[in-house]
């Protein structure tokens, strides 16, 4: 893994245009994500009300008044698709940030202290062995849901991967001469960990964080689809698809638009991740 902290890599580039030219995947993935964030944040300004039911216009095909058509309750699919992005993005980003944070918090000492390591790694192995969807639905069902619970339920099975990544980096970096020099120079353990070892984890964790974000968006959609996600009053791509399954033959647009939005967002996040990986770690880029 690369030792370079991201900031230095970005700063070394000559200009933004050169950066974009060389990293088309980062530009494309990042651009789509940015567009979706803006579209979701500005939704109240243009999208209309996603929850207004109008029995007069049930299951209407896309038209000038309803760009994406209407669903079985006469709600505007365009408004619901735009508002659905809010939940996907909010949960994807919060799970990614929390997973990376917890990964550092647990992985750093685990890689440094042998005894703590043995215990933590077995617990992580155990967490990883439980099917994530089942663990999440069980948690949500038992606690009566809500957005924070959904975040915890997705975070719990995602986190072990970050912990393992940080631990693996710490294990390899701690043997490097500059860390040995710091220890020999009398630096305290805290300082060795935070100043000398931690920066090596930034680049790989950023890459891994994007993958966690993609996976969290998929799990959230799956939970909403199974009816074990955020409350059904909040429009999400998952519950839109679930509620349109009966009308698939009759009104495919009720499923098409949220489905495509979901796939495009996850693809963009994965693309950003692949681009960042190749950019931050050229050695790995050659092999992948």
């Amino acid at each position: 893994m690369s030792d370079l902290a991201i900031s230095t890599v970005f700063l070394r580039r000559r200009g933004f245009a050169t950066f974009i030219g060389r990293n088309r995947r980062i530009a494309l993935g990042g651009g789509v994500i940015l567009f979706m964030i803006l579209a979701a944040a500005a939704a109240p300004l243009y999208a209309g009300n996603p929850n207004i039911m109008n029995p007069m216009v049930r299951l209407e095909a896309p038209s000038a008044t309803h760009w994406f058509g209407t669903d079985a309750l006469g709600r505007d699919v365009f408004a619901r698709t735009v508002y659905g992005a809010q939940i996907s993005l909010a949960i994807g980003l919060s799970v990614a940030v929390l997973a990376v944070g917890l990964g550092m918090l647990i992985g750093l000492p685990a890689g440094y202290y042998r005894r703590f390591d043995a215990l933590v790694m077995r617990v992580m192995d155990g967490l990883m062995s439980i099917p994530s969807i089942l663990l999440a639905i069980a948690l949500v069902a038992l606690t009566h849901g809500g957005v924070p619970i959904v975040i915890v339920a997705i975070l719990l099975p995602e986190m072990p991967r970050e912990v393992r990544l940080v631990r693996a980096i710490v294990l390899s970096v701690r043997e490097r001469p500059f860390v040995e020099a710091a220890i020999a120079g009398g630096a305290r353990t805290r300082k060795v960990l935070l100043r000398h070892i931690l920066p090596s984890t930034f680049a790989p964790l950023t890459v891994q964080g994007t993958y966690v974000c993609a996976s969290a968006i998929l799990v959230e959609a799956a939970l909403s689809f199974l009816g074990a996600g955020v409350p059904p009053s909040i429009p999400t791509w998952g519950n839109m698809i679930a509620s349109s399954q009966l009308y698939l033959g009759l009104a495919p647009w009720t499923m098409f638009f949220p489905g495509v939005a979901l796939a495009v967002l996850v693809l963009a996040v994965n693309l950003l991740g692949d681009g960042l990986r190749d950019h931050l770690d050229p050695r790995l880029a050659r092999s992948l």
């Binding site: 077995r122 192995d125 099917p131 089942l134 038992l142 698939l248």
Partner: protein, 313 residues
Amino acid sequence: MAAYITRRLLSTIVVMLLVGVFVFMLLHIAPGDPAAIIAGDNATPAEIASIRQQLGLADPLSVQFVRWFWDLLHGNFGRSIFYETPVITLIGQRLPATLSLTALTIAFAVILAVASGVIAAWRAGGWLDGFLMGFAALGFSTPVFVVGYFLIYFFAIRLRWLPVQGYVPLSHGLWPWLSHLILPTVALGLAYVALIARITRASMLEVLAEDYIRTARAKGASTEAILFRHALKNAGVPIVTVIGIGVALLISGVVITETVFNIPGVGRLAVSAITNRDYPIIQGVMVIFSGAYVIINLLVDISYTLIDPRVRY
């Protein structure tokens, strides 16, 4: 080797014990009285008391755990609250459908993924590589249920080539069984194919740069012989590893695929148990699926020495 397997077995047992603790604790971490949670919102105090009695919830937690785990080791997964039937019987009834789906998916996915990974690596940088890897990126990003409904819409509703939903046991004939499983297999397998194909390509690229590949080419070995006999064999360890790790993806996917395609399998049993708050079933399915994942990955670790004699423990 024997020492390694022993050590690996011991750590597997520790992991399964921890899985047991998680699954057991889940009900007790949740706020409120577990018996009341299971009984649901409209339960009378008498119903709650009877559930508490049935699950032995009055005893200390440690006693409950030891008793539950001991029963588990003896194949006793408890009784379903909703069906009033032993959980193991319910899981047993639904296992054939789930096993059919997963076995078919693994076979389909591994063959397709390894083939496309090898071709992509062979033609690295070309349009075929770009096409295959673009397809892999898309497959990895599209959720199982979106792919599933897409397939149902085109191949079942529009073209009417295949049945929309449901499951027919193998005993009713090969084609009825297979025709109901084709769409679910493709939907479930797509992400798995993408994952394995990407790793296969990466691992193959690394091996194809080795000296012995140049030697093989120089002595006039055919392209197929170089790709499959010389390269693939040496690229095997990462591929087998990701096949094992990807089983986790597959298990989560099974739960959704069975719901989309209305297949009466173990995954759908768990989903309906969650709606019914049938906790013994949820616990049982979680333990079974986790156990399958852990055992498959144990076998993967042991298989390294068979694939690559250079790997020693």
